[in-house]
Symmetry: C2
Subunit: 289 residues, 2 copies
């Protein structure tokens, strides 16, 4: 029996921290790292595991590194650090949402040092991360995905191998078109319902029973109606994702009006200081356009 | 025990015909009428019930008339015919999608002859009508809704009394904002996924497992990917509904970009001759914008 790999997590934000906790419960977590080091130290102390000051130090303690960061540049910086520090065979599983071209570049960097890369962006929101019920979209070589799977199982409800490196990010891009466009639809509809004086609970129940239903209506309908936008997926992060998606649509030559509209709306909301609100905060703009 | 009312159905299209069949199975259907009379005669012969040449003739045979037609003018014409022909106490249950202002006008016309009106637009598509599992959004006075409920139960999974006459149509308008905007989102996303060469079944499964899920993705994702648009909800009918919705948004002063976009897209598809296709045919425009 092969021993379970030592896993390190870098990036302990709203998604990364619960993922690290699930890896700990599964008996796989060896160490954590974070840009704000205090957060890594606090979690390491709580869980009685090691913390590392940076990606290179983390790699020295682990066979597998799981990254959950924000920007494409962060992922490339981690890949560069691992190239220098890593033993051959180190696997980087990146759960961030970045461009598929960046994922392929990170894979090339790792391969130079005999390491491997798998892109594994997730969907299911903060609730999904906390419950360990994320949907993971995986891109990578078969052997690398086979190594990544038992690690991902610690926090996934579903793991889907979509194709070679980058295919996970391509899939996430499609996912974000739906997420952004459904938010536009539900926020515009509920703003109209509110202005018409309809009853919240009866309206939500009747919409959910027919062809208008969606995950977003079920999870965010009541809270957005009440003007509460504290949980969920930050507008600033969706805006970042949509910039990636828009480039992909341009390269593919497919329609882009849904993404253009969402870029405009979330751009103005983030400019107005709402970047930390959940994306259902778009209803502000729909109520007072 | 009060005897079950004699129900007549006028408008035997894709929604009205299965609704009439469910009323027949429930032992309530007395007669049918349709603009193309041959269709009413054929269904009447099959079910061994009466047919009527028009709304006035139908009203003479029934206590309750269920209408399922296309245009606001059709509903006003039926209300006018019933005013002339109807016995006091006749109830018109209109399941069409029309403006809430038209519903209130029809109610005034009926009231002049001692009749009553309930607006009861439905959601759930042709599948919902065939299965007798529609979600019905009802507007009307309490006593009239109480009379309508056992009739609606013949084809409804859920009946929600939203408020006075017109509140059902207001609710349906909100429903159609969501339906149109979700179609934009899902069609744009799947067009991108197709252009990127992703695997259909893996993509649909992974999207459905996370925050991108919706009724429309589950019911229309695979067929639209394969270019099949024969089932479901006709583009020409959504376009008609969206014109009603856009006026309501203008009057309410709420956001309208989702509806504006859908009006433009479905307008050009209907102009290009695709009006009888299901609304998922929007993927044509997204694949070749």
């Amino acid at each position: 029996m092969t021993p379970a790999p030592h896993v390190g997590v870098i990036g302990l934000g709203a998604m990364g921290e619960p993922m690290a906790r699930h890896l700990h419960r599964a008996g796989r977590l060896a160490a954590v790292a974070n840009r704000t080091i205090a957060r890594a130290r606090a979690l390491a102390d709580e869980l009685a595991i090691a913390w590392a000051a940076d990606a290179a130090e983390l790699a020295a303690r682990c066979d597998v590194v799981v990254s959950c960061v924000t920007a494409d540049a962060d992922v490339l910086a981690i890949a560069g650090a691992l190239r220098t520090a890593a033993r051959p065979g180190l696997l980087l599983i990146d759960t961030s949402t970045i461009a598929s071209s960046t994922a392929r570049e990170a894979a090339r960097v790792l391969a130079e040092a005999g390491g491997a890369f798998v892109d594994a962006p997730v969907s299911g929101g903060v609730e999904g991360a906390r419950a360990g019920r994320l949907s993971v979209m995986v891109g990578g070589a078969d052997a690398d995905v086979a190594r990544a799977t038992p690690v991902l199982e610690a926090f996934a409800a579903r793991i889907t191998h979509m194709g070679p490196v980058g295919a996970g990010q391509d899939t996430k891009a499609v996912n974000q078109v739906l997420v952004a466009g459904i938010a536009e639809a539900v926020c515009e509809g509920l703003a109209l319902g509110k202005a018409l004086g309809l009853d919240r609970d009866r309206l939500l129940a009747v919409l959910a029973a027919g062809a208008a239903n969606s995950w977003f209506l079920e999870k965010r309908g009541a809270t957005m109606w009440d003007g509460s936008f504290s949980v969920g997926f930050k507008q600033s992060l969706l805006l970042k994702d949509l910039r990636i998606v828009r480039q992909l649509e341009a390269a593919a030559g497919t329609g882009h009006s849904v993404v253009d509209q969402a870029l405009e709306h979330y751009g103005s909301l983030v400019d107005a200081g709402h970047g930390d609100d959940d994306i259902s905060g778009l209803i502000r703009l729909k109520l007072r356009p």
